[in-house]
Symmetry: C2
Subunit: 263 residues, 2 copies
């Protein structure tokens, strides 16, 4: 039945009892891999390269990690562990989601490969689980769990989308040394041709808007985030929205730190 079944990396114990002491550790390997991926991209973090980074032989890594795929999983969860979030939602769901969104954006900007990494099965490492608990808990306002998931997904999708775009800009800028507006219109013959054809009015407006960056990246993110939260808020049933607002007022006035009420 479950003979050759897939075993989650999170179930695999790091080290057994017997034998000589391991010279390295999962955490050490994961951190080295993240360091390389941050600097040179995920594909540069090959097993040999990581091993070299920590001064080990290539095959030694397989004593700690069953495969590279699992290592990427570890890396993925590791970077989300940097996000310093309160243990529990404060009770002010807008504030909590805003906090989480900014933390996530910061993580993606710090580790660009995360935004691009192929997300296969929904991995649930401890840190991602913590985030899920926080985000879903913030939205636990008395609406169905399906709705909670949908809204949390919307927020996640927004942050991922916007930040991926932002990263693409940054990357393009770094590679060419040009400003975004020059890149978009002046330097790209393809885009110029599309605009000249006149058949893409919406695309034209998008480009033209990017041409006059009336907002910084930060402002754009915050503006869109506000939009998304307004979306969610507006979709809540009236009684739920009012109760949530009431709870938020209490959360702000009562607790000085992170942890809200609840007992």
């Amino acid at each position: 039945m479950s003979d050759t079944e897939y075993v989650s990396i999170w179930m695999r114990p790091e080290r057994p009892a017997r034998g000589p002491k391991p010279a390295y550790s999962r955490a050490q390997i994961t951190e080295a891999a993240v360091r390389i991926a941050d600097a040179e991209g995920l594909e540069a973090a090959s097993m040999r390269r990581i091993a070299a980074e920590i001064g080990a032989g290539a095959m030694s890594l397989y004593r700690y990690v069953p495969s590279r795929e699992d290592l990427v999983e570890l890396m993925y969860d590791h970077v989300f562990g940097e996000q310093a979030l309160p243990d529990r939602p404060s009770g002010d769901w807008r504030a909590d989601l805003t906090l989480m969104a900014h933390a996530m954006r910061a993580t993606l900007l710090r580790h660009p490969w995360v935004a691009v990494a192929p997300r296969g099965r929904p991995s649930i490492g401890p840190n991602q689980l913590r985030l899920t608990e926080f985000g879903a808990g913030a939205l636990d306002l008395g609406i169905p769990i399906d709705d909670i998931l949908t809204y949390a997904g919307l927020l996640h999708g927004y942050v991922a989308n916007v930040t991926r775009d932002e990263l693409a800009w940054i990357e393009e800028k770094r590679r060419s040394g040009m400003s975004p507006e020059d890149l978009m219109v002046r330097n790209s013959p393809y885009v110029r041709r599309l605009l000249a054809s006149g058949r893409y009015p919406m695309f034209q407006r998008i480009v033209m808007d990017a041409r006059q960056p009336h907002m910084s990246m930060d402002e754009r993110f915050a503006y869109g985030l506000e939009r998304v939260l307004k979306c969610i808020e507006a979709a809540l049933p009236d009684d739920v929205r009012e109760a949530a607002a009431e709870r938020a007022r209490n959360a702000v006035s009562s607790s000085g730190g992170a942890v809200g009420a609840e007992g």
Copy 2:
């Protein structure tokens, strides 16, 4: 300056004038690659494998495509060309976005690798551009272009998220032959351990909800989609919402008369 600059695949002409007639074509290669990726995953569609599929030598492909990365771009755009959408939005933005969301889900389900494929730079092939025009055009209700993009991104993110989850379920089910509820709770020791710890109440509710699949995948998708559209609608300014509703009524009554908005 732009000597070794990156040249978009969409600018590269397929064939020049001189020389012998090519034996293959970009479309043929792209279709073969998609066929393989559909059946065995994106990574199975290697250059050698694709070449074998069409009976060519491995290196012959490079006469048609500058690199595998560009070929993936072609594949990506190709599958979005299957979506049969009207040339223009109908004027009923909810209907239009619903149509687009279902078409996108169908495409992702038909080509699972698309949902997982690493999305680096925002590629703008002709078919994706057509989709952008349609989606953004449907949301062109007199709101800022930034808002249009945010809302379109929300919808896109929702469809991508939900369908990726759905695909993960399907894949897991195919590999193990078990039903989702068994998979989630009974078969996964890791999930069982997490639940037993009692420290993840929201996660527990998510799992328990999945354990009692009160909705089919289709229903779940449609329900969430309705939620998202309601979100967007609720966030629109009152006058915009009413004007849009009025336009939708006209669009329904009149058959082909579609577009009204413009500069």
